[in-house]
C-alpha cells in the first residue's frame, strides 16, 4: 500500500524526533556516567575528611555518613600526640621548598643554556641529559644510598634534597619555554648595553615564568608526596616527612581509631590542594607538555 504524502512527512518527522530523543538520552546517559565516576573519584576524599571529624567509636560506622557528624577535633590533637607531626610538617616543607627552589635554579640555568647559548658539545651534553630521563630511580638508589652514608648524610633531610636538586625533566621543560621566546629581545638589550647575565635574568627569565610555574607545581607535588626515597634514607621519626609519618601512624592505629589516621591524611592534603587551586592551570599545562614530548 502506498502511503500518502502527509503520512510520509509525519513518518519522517517522527523518525527525526526519535533520533533527537536518542541523541539526547545518550547525552544524558553519558553525563550520568561521568557524574557517577566523579563521585567515585571524590568520594574517598570526602569520606576521609568527614571521618576524620568523627569520634573513634563512630569511625567505622556503616552505612557510611558522608557529612561530618561529631566535629571531633580531638582526633587532630591526637595526631600530634602520637607522632612528632609538627616536626614532620616542618621537614616536609623544608625538603619540598628547598627542592623546588633548587630545581628552578639549576633547570633555568641549564634550560637557558641549551636553548639560547652556543658552545662546543652542546648537542652531546643535551642528549646526555635526555638519556638520563629513561633511568629509573631503582637503578640508582643503592649507589646513591651508599654515597649518602659515606658522606655522612644518612638520616638527614639533606639526603633527600641534595640528589633532587638536579632535574633532567625540568631542564627539558624550561628549554622549551626559552626556545619559544623571540630572539630579537636579545639584540635590543645588547644595543641598550646589557650584558649576558642581564639578558638572561631580566629579559628571558621573566618570559619563561609560565614554565617556571609549571616546574614549581610539578616539583612541589612530586616532592611533597614522595615516599620511597624518604623510606630508604630516613630512620628517626623526628626526621620523617609527612607520608612516612602517615605510614607509622597507620601502623600504631592498626586496632585503634582510624579517625586519627584520617585526620593526619586530611592535614597532609592541605598544601597540595592549595597549590592545585592556585596552580591548576600550570599542573595541567605541565602534564600536557610532558605528553607532547612523545
Amino acid at each position: 500500500m502506498q502511503t500518502s504524502w502527509p503520512e510520509k512527512k509525519n513518518a519522517r518527522a517522527g523518525h527525526r524526533a526519535a533520533e533527537a530523543l536518542l541523541r539526547h538520552s545518550r547525552r544524558w546517559l553519558l553525563l550520568l556516567g561521568l557524574f557517577a565516576l566523579s563521585v567515585i573519584m571524590v568520594g574517598p576524599i570526602v569520606w576521609t575528611i568527614s571521618t576524620s571529624l568523627r569520634t573513634p567509636a563512630a569511625s567505622f560506622s556503616l552505612p557510611p555518613k558522608w557529612l561530618p557528624t561529631d566535629m571531633a577535633l580531638e582526633n587532630y590533637a591526637e595526631v600530634f600526640a602520637r607522632i612528632p607531626f609538627w616536626r614532620q610538617i616542618f621537614n616536609s616543607f623544608f625538603v619540598t621548598l628547598s627542592t623546588v627552589f633548587g630545581q628552578l635554579c639549576t633547570a633555568a640555568l641549564a634550560g637557558y643554556a641549551f636553548a639560547r647559548l652556543d658552545f662546543p658539545g652542546k648537542t652531546l651534553l643535551f642528549w646526555l641529559v635526555m638519556a638520563t630521563l629513561m633511568i629509573p630511580l631503582q637503578a640508582t638508589i643503592i649507589p646513591v644510598f651508599v654515597l649518602i652514608s659515606r658522606i655522612g648524610l644518612s638520616d638527614s633531610l639533606a639526603a633527600l634534597i641534595v640528589p633532587a636538586l638536579f632535574t633532567a625533566f625540568g631542564t627539558f621543560l624550561l628549554r622549551q619555554y626559552f626556545m619559544q621566546a623571540p630572539k630579537e629581545f636579545e639584540e635590543v638589550a645588547l644595543i641598550d648595553g646589557a650584558n649576558q647575565w642581564y639578558i638572561f635574568s631580566r629579559v628571558y627569565l621573566p618570559l619563561a615564568a609560565p614554565g617556571l610555574a609549571v616546574l614549581a607545581v610539578l616539583a612541589f607535588n612530586g616532592t611533597w608526596n614522595e615516599f620511597y626515597r624518604p623510606l630508604v634514607f630516613l630512620i628517626t621519626d623526628a626526621n620523617f616527612t609527612i607520608p612516612l609519618g602517615l605510614n607509622t601512624l597507620k601502623g600504631y592505629m592498626m586496632t585503634g581509631s582510624i579517625s586519627v589516621v584520617l585526620a593526619g591524611v586530611s592535614l597532609s592534603l592541605i598544601p597540595v590542594v592549595l597549590v592545585y587551586l592556585f596552580g591548576q592551570r600550570y599542573l595541567i599545562e605541565g602534564i600536557m607538555v610532558g605528553g607532547l614530548k612523545g
Binding site: 547525552r27 553519558l30 553525563l31 556516567g33 565516576l37 566523579s38 567515585i40 573519584m41 571524590v42 574517598p44 576524599i45 569520606w47 556503616l62 552505612p63 635554579c105 639549576t106 633547570a107 640555568l109 641549564a110 643554556a113 652556543d118 658552545f119 651534553l125 646526555l128 641529559v129 629509573p136 631503582q138 637503578a139 640508582t140 638508589i141 643503592i142 649507589p143 654515597l147 641534595v162 640528589p163 636538586l165 638536579f166 631542564t171 645588547l190 649576558q196 647575565w197 607535588n221 608526596n225 615516599f227 623510606l231 602517615l246 605510614n247 597507620k250 582510624i258 584520617l262 591524611v265 597532609s268 592534603l269 592545585y276 595541567i284 602534564i287 600536557m288 610532558g290 605528553g291 612523545g294
Partner: protein
C-alpha cells in the same frame, strides 16, 4: 685603593673574554653556557648516570655492608633466577603493568572522548578537576585511605556492594584478589593524569578533522579506529612508555596497603629490591635485581619505540 688598581688591570684571559667584539661576545656566551649547564651536568653525573654504572658493578659483588665486598662474578644473577620470591615479584609486576596500564589507557581515552561531547563549561571543568583530584594525594595517603575503604568487614566499598547483593570481596586478604585491588587503586589515582595527557593530544588534532569525519557519517567505531586512534597515536605511545616505566616501579600504594601480602601475592619487583637492599643489607644481590629491572625497562621501552614505527603517525 690597592684593590681598585688590581681590578682595573686585566689579565690576558679576562681581556680575551671581555673584548667588545662579536667574537668576544660569542666567547662570553660559550663560557656562560658551560657555567649554566655545569650544576645540572655534574648533578646528573653524580646522582644518576654514575650510580647506574656503579649498580652494574655492585651486582658482581657479594656485599653485606658489615663485611668488605668480595667479587663473585655472575653469582648474584644465578641466585636470582632460582629465587622464587624474586621471580614471583617480577611476575606480579608484569601482570600489574599489563592490566593497569592497559586499563588506564583505555579508560582515559574513553573519558577524554566523553569530555569532548557538548556540555556546559562548568561541567567540563568540574569533571576534569574531580578526575585529577586523586592524583594530588601521596601514594601513602592513597594506600591508607583505600585500605580502610576496602576492608572486608567494615569497609565502605563492600557495604555498598552488599546493597547491590554482591557478597563481601576480600580485597586485601585474598591472594587471588589482591593484585586486582592494587590495579584498581592505581587506576583510581592515575587515570586523571593520563586523561589530561589524552585531552592534550586531542586538542592537538584540529577539531574540524574530528567533527568533519563525524558529520560524514562515519560510524562511531570506524571514526574511533580510522580517525581518532591514528591521529592520537603519538599520545598513546607516550602514555604507554611513561606508564610502563612508572608501573614497573610501583611501590608506595601496595607497600602501604599490603606490605606485599598476603604471602607474596602483591609483592612487586621494587618491594623485593627494597627488602634485599635495605632490610637484609644484601647490597650486591639487590643491585642485581636493580640491574635486571633497569634492563627490562630499557628493553620494553626500546621495543615500544621499535613497534611504534608500525602504528604511530606523526603529522
Amino acid at each position: 685603593m690597592q684593590r681598585a688598581v688590581t681590578t682595573r688591570k686585566r689579565t690576558s684571559l679576562a681581556g680575551w673574554l671581555t673584548e667588545p667584539t662579536l667574537a668576544g661576545m660569542r666567547r662570553r656566551k660559550a663560557l656562560l653556557g658551560y657555567l649554566f649547564v655545569l650544576p645540572t651536568i655534574l648533578g646528573i653525573l653524580v646522582f644518576t648516570a654514575g650510580p647506574v654504572l656503579v649498580s652494574f658493578g655492585l651486582s658482581l659483588y657479594k656485599w653485606n655492608v658489615f663485611r668488605p665486598p668480595t667479587f663473585v662474578g655472575l653469582e648474584n644473577y644465578t641466585r636470582l633466577v632460582s629465587d622464587t620470591r624474586v621471580l614471583v615479584s617480577f611476575a606480579n609486576s608484569a601482570r600489574f603493568v599489563i592490566l593497569a596500564i592497559g586499563l588506564q589507557i583505555v579508560f582515559s581515552l574513553l573519558l577524554a572522548l566523553a569530555l569532548r561531547q557538548r556540555m556546559a563549561t562548568w561541567m567540563r571543568y568540574y569533571f576534569r578537576t574531580t578526575f585529577l583530584l586523586p592524583f594530588l594525594l601521596s601514594g601513602a595517603a592513597t594506600g591508607v585511605v583505600l585500605s580502610y575503604l576496602l576492608h572486608q568487614e567494615f569497609g565502605v566499598v563492600n557495604y555498598y556492594l552488599g546493597l547491590l547483593g554482591i557478597p563481601r570481596i576480600p580485597w586485601l586478604t585474598s591472594s587471588d584478589v589482591v593484585l586486582y585491588t592494587v590495579v584498581l587503586a592505581y587506576l583510581w589515582q592515575f587515570v586523571g593524569f593520563s586523561l589530561i595527557t589524552m585531552l592534550g593530544g586531542l586538542s592537538n588534532i584540529s577539531s574540524e578533522v574530528l567533527d568533519a569525519a563525524e558529520v560524514d557519517g562515519a560510524s562511531g567505531w570506524n571514526w574511533l579506529w580510522q580517525i581518532v586512534l591514528p591521529m592520537l597515536s603519538p599520545t598513546l605511545l607516550f602514555s604507554a612508555v611513561i606508564g610502563v616505566i612508572g608501573g614497573l616501579q610501583i611501590f608506595d600504594q601496595p607497600y602501604v596497603m599490603t606490605r606485599g601480602g598476603p604471602g607474596d601475592a602483591s609483592r612487586t619487583a621494587v618491594m623485593t629490591l627494597y627488602e634485599a637492599a635495605f632490610k637484609n643489607q644484601e647490597i650486591g644481590y639487590a643491585s642485581s635485581i636493580a640491574v635486571i629491572l633497569f634492563v627490562v625497562i630499557l628493553a620494553i621501552t626500546a621495543f615500544q619505540f621499535a613497534m611504534s614505527k608500525r602504528w604511530v603517525f606523526y603529522q
